[in-house]
């Protein structure tokens, strides 16, 4: 146990923790939305994120950026980032939709037991990651250095970089827009209605299948944003990159209260920070264990998460 490391770098660990936690939170939104409406852990969501990281990379390569080119100037950078964002979001959302249409909808039509959904979910996850694994020969891919890290200002002795501000800023914007969408718009009301009581919502004229599709699209879009931020920040991807992120994002969703959008944000940020403290305290090797241990402990003492679950009742 290295308390000096923890307390000496407390502000720095907190800030990097928030940065990583923001990405977990964006992915966690996908789990939470689907769980809130369908009561289903969408295991394939980690692969939705993985598809986003690859498609953003391919977009950049198509635009002429690769590992050997220098960081682009401002104009081309904006073009590249926006193009990558658009492509990643569309690709992730389409993947999520394909999974819903191919793997889950036929089961709903047959009124399959919950176990069957979980089994196809894990099947879909492995099919996606393996097809990328075979297609990319299981190699890790480096990214072009799009935005070089530089320190913008110092806070309590910790350097705050431009990327950290970008990631936190984007996450907050996405989070607020999603929250407003679900809580204010007509479609959002449909989502909340189906989450509360699917059969009654259907009687009131809500098209259940369309709402479910919408939920998958929203989750996919968020995963696409997370994928782009991941690409910019961590600069590599691999066919199984989604696995650990997915596991942590799910832990984050449960931590905040699965089915609760604000809970996903809180859980994600909290997990990122706690994970960084743990790596300061026990060493970097143990970082990935934190989320899992936290999940088990949480399920023992507060299985409904910090903010309580339910998409329908979270400030309806």
């Amino acid at each position: 146990m290295n308390f000096d490391e923890l307390f000496g770098n407390f502000p720095a660990l907190t800030i990097t923790g928030l940065e990583q936690g923001a990405i977990y939170a964006l992915v966690a939104l996908g789990y939470t939305l689907v769980y809130g409406v369908l009561r289903l852990i969408n295991f394939a969501h980690s692969e939705v994120f993985m598809v986003g990281t690859f498609t953003a990379l391919w977009t950049w390569e198509a635009l002429g950026h690769n590992q050997n080119t220098p960081a682009p100037a401002f104009g081309p950078l904006i073009v590249a980032v926006l193009a990558g964002l658009a492509v990643a979001m569309v690709a992730s959302a389409s993947t999520a939709v394909v999974v819903e249409l191919v793997a889950y909808r036929p089961l709903r039509r047959r009124n399959a037991p919950p176990l069957a959904f979980l089994i196809t979910a894990i099947g879909a996850s492995f099919v996606l990651s393996e097809s990328f694994g075979i297609g990319t020969e299981r190699a890790p891919f480096g990214m072009p250095d799009m935005i070089p890290q530089k320190t913008v200002f110092t806070l309590f002795g910790a350097d705050v970089t431009n990327l950290q501000l970008l990631i936190l800023g984007v996450t907050l914007i996405m989070m607020i827009s999603l929250d407003q969408f679900v809580n204010r718009s007509r479609l959002g009301r449909g989502i909340r209605a189906v989450a509360q009581d699917a059969d009654t919502a259907a009687l009131m004229g809500v098209n259940k299948n369309r709402v479910i599709l919408l939920v998958f699209i929203l989750g996919g879009l968020m995963a696409g944003v997370a994928a782009l931020l991941w690409d910019i920040r961590f600069g590599f991807t691999k066919f199984n990159v989604g696995f650990l992120i997915g596991l942590k994002a799910f832990s984050a969703a449960v931590l905040g209260g699965i089915g609760n959008l604000r809970g996903a944000l809180l859980g994600g940020l909290l997990l990122g920070v706690v994970e960084n403290y743990a790596s300061g305290l026990f060493g970097g090797d143990w970082k990935d264990f934190t989320g899992f241990v936290l999940l088990i402990v949480l399920l023992m003492f507060r299985p409904t998460g910090l903010l309580g679950e339910s998409l329908g009742r979270a400030r309806a």
């Binding site: 191919v102 089961l107 037991p113 979980l118 999940l295």
Partner: protein
């Protein structure tokens, strides 16, 4: 449609005829099957039958890959499928980290027995096996305790995480599992043959195959009795309707935990046998992807049916090996193992949609699926707009 119903009636007819036979005949039939399985890896058997030895005859007794090794690997898989079947098939719980328990069993044996292990206990193999089973069982209880009280779907992700954590821990070079370097010199199972040589050596996989085959047979008998006991009936009740079971006085949490622990124990036992044959394990021996293969085996064969689990396990492991043999025969370099997880991931999806009861269904479970299908909420079938 007629084809399937025709086939169904034919298998049903065979079953009825088999059940109607005198008990002695059935015993003889089973004994013949067991004897056949025991002589399967012997070279003289194929020579006697007139197979062209040495050509890659459908990956039967081939020169390139030792058939006894293939049989051993397949049997490992069958045993895993039989163990997972208790959890997924009987109790209806989804355990996605089944390979984690297998790893726990193998590492426990390795740590306790190997002279290279940092524990330095140097136990003989046989003494370490019960400990491996117990440790796997305990880790199952630790995982299941907090999660089984809640919803079953949390169990799925917790077990998935567990298998990954085991692998991450094993991959650390400083830890007792020694990462990629692994643990070598795990002793073989004990025993001396009539010629004075050790029974279990490195030259032949045959004794290991016979060992695991014997274990499988014992486990199958134990499982059959368990399923027809009070415990088995409780599992079926929980699988069909947990709330109803609880109201009827079945302590659901207790029996779910039992199912989970028994499944974990079988996984640990399999790992112990694997470690005894392999003599070396490292963090690459337990890829998480294999968890999906075991699950696919159970689903493909028919969850809830021991015969189904055996058939599924055998198909999932043997088919890619066989295809490799066929590829060699017709001169195609085709590594089916590379596509194994992709293909069986697809198989899982397709099976769940079109034949959720599996190839060799459990009758009651097939009826459950058919019932649910009839209860479809009408609005789902009404076309939109």
């Amino acid at each position: 449609m007629t084809a399937t119903s025709d086939k169904k009636s034919r298998t049903a007819a065979f079953r009825t005829r088999w059940d109607a036979m005198p008990k002695q005949v059935r015993w003889v039939g089973l004994a013949a099957l067991v004897v056949f399985l025991y002589i399967l890896p012997n070279r003289w058997f194929y020579e006697y039958l007139g197979f062209p030895i040495g050509s890659d005859y459908f990956a039967f007794y081939t020169t390139r890959s030792d058939f006894a090794t293939v049989l051993f690997d397949t049997s490992v898989f069958v045993l895993l499928a039989v163990g997972l079947n208790v959890v997924v098939g009987f109790a209806g719980l989804l355990d996605l980290g089944y390979f984690g328990f297998y790893a726990v069993g193998a590492y426990t044996v390795a740590l306790l027995t190997s002279p290279e292990s940092r524990l330095g206990t140097n136990w003989p193999w046989l003494a370490a096996v019960p400990v491996a089973i117990a440790v796997a069982m305990i880790s199952g209880v630790i995982l299941g305790g907090p999660t089984l009280r809640l919803r079953g779907d949390y169990l799925a992700i917790v077990t998935l995480g567990f298998a990954e954590m085991i692998r991450l821990y094993a991959a650390r070079n400083e830890g007792i599992a020694q990462g990629q370097r692994g643990i070598p010199q795990i002793p073989h199972p004990p025993g001396t043959g009539s010629d004075g040589h050790p029974l279990f050596g490195v030259e032949s996989s045959k004794p290991y195959y016979w060992l695991i085959l014997t274990v499988i047979i014992v486990i199958i008998f134990a499982m059959r009795n368990l399923v027809n006991s009070r415990v088995g009936r409780a599992w079926v009740a929980i699988r069909e309707d947990e709330d109803a079971a609880e109201i009827m006085g079945v302590p659901t949490f207790k029996y779910k935990l039992w199912a989970f622990a028994i499944g974990a124990a079988v996984g640990g036992l399999t790992g112990a046998i694997f470690a005894g044959k392999q003599t070396f394990i490292n963090s690459d021996s337990f890829l998480l992807e294999n968890s999906i293969l075991v699950l696919a085996a159970v689903i493909l064969g028919g969850a809830g049916n021991i015969k189904g689990a055996i058939a599924g396990g055998a198909i999932t492991w043997y088919l890619p090996e066989w295809l490799r043999g066929v590829g060699d025969l017709i001169g195609v370099e085709f590594d089916a193992a590379e596509y194994r997880i992709l293909v069986f991931g697809l198989v899982v999806i397709v099976m769940m949609i079109f034949r959720p009861q599996g190839l060799v269904p459990n009758r009651r479970r097939a009826a459950e699926f058919a019932d649910r299908r009839k209860e479809v909420v009408p609005q789902e079938t009404v076309p939109n707009e």
